[in-house]
Assembly symmetry: C2
Homo-oligomer: 248 residues x 2
DNA sequence: TAGCAAAACGTCTTAATGACACTTAGTAAT
DNA sequence: ATTACTAAGTGTCATTAAGACGTTTTGCTA
């Protein structure tokens, strides 16, 4: 990553981002891969993150990390919380790696985790940073990660699940035009269980946060699905009112 | 506060606690008062907090602050999030005060906020630290606070409201034995609106998180209220199942 | 033109919510 | 002792939401 030399790093505080994406089939996370090969099967993957600068807020730092890595801006981003275990950087494999990238590899760093939701289809990896070192991994395949990143990832996944029950944030993972089947599949992927198709549709339509478009799928070898778009206006209204009953 | 000289402070990270209490009438917050008198009507109040040590986690730091201030342990405590605005310590009145308590008053500090729920009745202020400098303030009276503490307070209040909708955390604010009227009053105080008495009772009883005791109020000039206790076991079960429908 | 595959659609039963008013148990005052 | 006062405690009905379940439709393909 390109660091501006004028700016002063805060060597005790970092941000890490759990970036979720949905490819209309599976829920995925964006992980970066260490340059040096490691023996442990999955520990070479980690969440994208960076130390913060002293002239930026945590939100700004997270936005910067996201931009540098994916080239995306204006994506859904929310603070998850701070992680401060004393041994969070002290796994032996991690230390070796840290020594190659940090000036003070033994300094204590607490990290503030963020979770982000991106629409995988509107996503064009920025070749320089991304293609070589980062990749989308199905969430089922995420077992162990570097540092305390697995704990952070699990915490993010849980929060995503919980939040979906009360707020329609799932739309951030879909393209502007989508079918109800895709939305359905997304919800099933996140909550991790089957949801009745008809009841799901009824609920979404009653909540009035989707608008039916005069456009259908073409070229599919079955009855084409209607496209819908997200109803921003009603969503905002629901956000304010708190919509208690959004559960399944 | 007594600082052990052996330990090394992390001068860039602090914790601040929003401690809620309920005196069976009103919802209150524990605020500390600066030693030096200030002209601004309320800005002399701030949230209890402290820089962290490098050999403690954030949770441990928050527990320490709480213990030092209130003498209480084992109270409900949850991380709220990190606050990192660049100007969060730069109000002029705050700077003067900071200079009197910090070695590097101009260093950037990000703070991790916690919110805590305590039962005001089982609360015995530790005379040394508490009585002189801290006091319970009704939440309506909390207008401006030092630093960015008002923002933190509001965020905590909002989270308390939101969380109450989906988890019965309110019990942490009540004594072991309480009446349904007290519980009712507490909920009204937190969500800030009237709740129908009968519907409220029905819901609590159906959720099966309260257990009726064979004990009544005595000495009240009206029909005495029955005491209840919190049903830990069912609460844990509900926590796991996620209990979608806890709204009003 | 027959077959295929996923989309679209409705009903019924059960459970939860919200609105609403009177009776009861104890204290305090006369 | 009777009366008055105060907050506690209780039930029903109408409306709305949830959960379970199978058949028809549309467009493509062979």
């Amino acid at each position: 990553m390109k660091h501006n030399n004028q700016r002063k790093l805060n060597t005790g505080i970092s941000v890490d981002c759990v970036i979720f994406g949905f490819d209309l089939e599976e829920l995925k996370v964006l992980l970066i891969q260490r340059k040096t090969a490691q023996k442990a099967p999955d520990s070479r993957f980690s969440l994208p993150g960076d130390l913060i600068y002293n002239d930026e807020t945590l939100d700004e730092a997270a936005i910067r990390v996201l931009k540098e890595l994916t080239g995306l801006e204006n994506i859904y981003l929310e603070q998850l919380g701070a992680f401060s275990a004393l041994d969070r950087l002290s796994k032996i494999e991690d230390k070796i790696w840290l020594e190659s990238i940090r000036e003070q590899p033994n300094e204590r760093v607490i990290t503030i985790a963020y979770f982000a939701l991106v629409n995988l289809n509107s996503f064009h990896p920025s070749p320089a940073n991304f293609a070589t070192s980062a990749s989308w991994r199905p969430i089922q395949n995420v077992t162990s990660l570097a540092f305390d990143h697995h704990e952070i990832f699990e915490s993010a996944h849980q929060q995503l699940k919980a939040k979906l029950q009360t707020q329609p944030i799932g739309f951030n993972l879909l393209p502007d035009k989508f079918t109800l089947s895709q939305l359905h599949k997304l919800y099933e992927a996140i909550v991790g269980k089957e949801l009745d198709k008809r009841n799901f549709r009824r609920k979404m339509i009653k909540l009035d946060i989707v608008k039916k478009l005069e456009e259908k799928q073409v070229g599919v070898p079955h009855k084409p699905s209607n496209f819908y778009e997200f109803n921003q206006k009603n969503y905002q209204k629901l956000l304010k009112e708190g919509f208690d009953n959004f559960g399944f």
